[in-house]
């Protein structure tokens, strides 16, 4: 994903309910934090969609571990890293805020609503979403990119299908095409430290809602 932080959206887009200026400021803060706290990206970081448990350190649901490709239809997800002993050492919570984009919005001269989404076996869980990011120049032009290029914090347009609510309800019928402006960002991250005997010794968490001020918890 490009690193551009756009606060102006092309006409026809529904604006996000987020305070865009606030987001921009928070991201500036976070970029600084990233350098200090986020482990180097690499194979040791893995995505997952479900954690469980009532302890201070969440348990990762093993079956929900996936690559970024597997997150295409998720509304939020997590990323973690284990230490050499296999304990969770770091965890990020990722949020995808979504607002509608008018299907009449044209990209490269073609309305979003005219584009097709492929899926197999009449199952929209198999759909191949389409994604668009703003051009590097920072203009208001959008270009289609492979979904994989949306990884990381940023903003993109997601074109996808939704299933009707149920077969006999008012929304019954064919899957509905939808275009959404997705703001994808880290809302929270935490570092877990362990004592020599293996017990949890400290948690340092950073939350977007308090400006990523580090907060320490000692069990």
């Amino acid at each position: 994903m490009t690193g551009s932080r756009r606060t102006v959206i092309v006409g026809g887009l529904a604006m996000s309910g987020l305070n865009l200026l606030g987001i921009t400021a928070s991201r500036a803060t976070e970029r600084a934090l990233d350098n200090l706290t986020e482990p180097a990206r690499g194979r040791d970081l893995f995505y997952f969609t479900h954690w469980w448990g009532y302890q201070l350190v969440p348990n990762i649901a093993a079956s929900s571990i996936t690559d970024y490709e597997g997150l295409a239809l998720e509304y939020g997800f997590f990323r973690g890293r284990r230490d050499a002993a296999g304990r969770l050492a770091y965890m990020e919570s990722w949020t995808r805020d979504r607002t509608d984009v008018d299907l009449a919005t044209e990209i490269d001269g073609q309305p979003l609503g005219d584009r097709k989404i492929d899926y197999r076996d009449n199952d929209i869980a198999t759909q191949q979403v389409r994604t668009f990011v703003a051009s590097k120049s920072g203009s208001e032009d959008w270009r289609e990119v492979p979904y994989a290029e949306t990884e990381g914090q940023g903003r993109f347009i997601l074109l996808r299908l939704y299933a009707p609510l149920d077969d006999d309800g008012p929304d019954s019928g064919r899957p509905a095409l939808s275009a959404e402006l997705v703001d994808q960002y880290i809302s929270e991250k935490a570092h877990y430290s362990y004592a020599a005997d293996g017990t949890l010794s400290k948690i340092v968490s950073y939350r977007r809602d308090n400006g990523f001020t580090p907060v320490e918890f000692v069990p």
Binding site: G53, L73, Y75, A125, A163, E180, F217
Partner: protein, 313 residues
């Protein structure tokens, strides 16, 4: 005193109608004023009333349309659940019911015969059941054999969770964009042993604590599982609830919010899990919210519209 036409000219006995007046056929118009009462079960009425303890209550805010050919009359039910029409021509009408945020099942007649036999107007009762499409119940199963202090072979969630999402509109519901969600958790870090599960520990709405550790994704108005989709494979149940007691969508949502906030006080800030499944935990919390807000997983109707029943599970 008038003595007749004495002294005056007698009018001509002959009258020629003007040629430019149209021929008028006088036909008695058949029409009537009409009231349609839309009602649904009311839970909590004293037993002994009709319908085995259930009473009926008017449903406000339902758009009731009656259509005959290309003619449609539409009215919205008032606080008593009555939609009123005036001067409805006689005929056979098709009745349709609509209400934003609800799916409505008309359990009565869908056809309405209007005749002019009643000068004071006619009243028609329609009994319905409604499904609220902007509140959604999520249930992840508990794997009881491994729930306490253990995890299953795949490392997946043995505890499960029940939580409730609230959407602003049906469009948001269809795109799974909840504005709020609520669930009941032990406060993060409060459980230090399996025994705590049974004796009870401090509970927290959404597992959120303003001054202590919270679960990932928790906030005062979002359950940690807020973003989990209805397509999540591990869910054992996800449904839009049926409603009783004739309230609007905004009223049901308001009750949910209020009761979610007051639950902690009602249970003395306790989270617990008893061996019989009782206690104050996510499942009993969701069932409590549903009962308080008159939301049900099942609202049934028996033969002849007797034997209505409700259930949260």
């Amino acid at each position: 005193m008038d003595g007749g036409n004495a002294g005056g000219a007698r009018p001509s006995a002959r009258y020629d109608a003007p040629q430019d007046l149209p021929q008028v056929d006088v036909v008695a118009r058949c029409e009537t004023d009409l009231t349609i009462l839309v009602e649904e079960p009311e839970v909590g009425a004293p037993r002994g009333n009709r319908n085995q303890g259930f009473d009926w209550i008017g449903v406000k805010g339902v758009e009731v349309s009656i259509r005959q050919g290309s003619t449609t009359f539409t009215a919205t039910t008032d606080a008593q659940g009555k939609a009123r029409y005036s001067a409805v021509p006689c005929g056979l009408y098709v009745v349709t019911l609509r209400q934003a945020e609800f799916r409505i099942e008309n359990k009565g007649d869908t056809n309405l015969k209007v005749n002019g036999s009643s000068k004071s107007g006619r009243e028609k009762e329609l009994r319905i059941r409604r499904q609220l499409r902007t509140v959604e119940m999520f249930r992840l199963p508990t794997q009881y054999m491994v729930a306490v202090g253990a995890k299953d072979a795949t490392g997946d969630d043995p505890y499960g969770h029940h939580w409730t999402k609230i959407y602003a509109s049906e469009a948001d519901a269809s795109r799974e964009r909840p504005m709020e969600s609520y669930g009941w958790w032990p406060a993060a870090g409060a459980l230090t042993s399996d025994w705590d599960t049974f004796t009870g520990v401090r509970g927290a709405l959404n597992g959120y604590s303003p001054s202590g550790p919270s679960y990932a994704g928790a906030s005062p108005t979002t359950d940690p599982y807020h973003t989990k989709s209805r397509t999540y494979a591990s869910l054992e149940d996800v449904f839009f609830p049926w409603v009783t007691n004739g309230k609007t969508a905004a009223e049901y949502k308001s009750i949910l919010r209020t009761k979610a906030q007051s639950f902690a006080r009602d249970v003395s800030n306790t989270w617990s899990w008893r061996t019989d499944g009782g206690g104050w935990h996510c499942k009993t919390f969701q069932a409590y919210l549903m009962r308080e807000a008159f939301l049900w997983k099942h609202v049934g109707v028996g033969i002849g519209q007797f034997g209505w029943s409700t259930s949260t599970s």
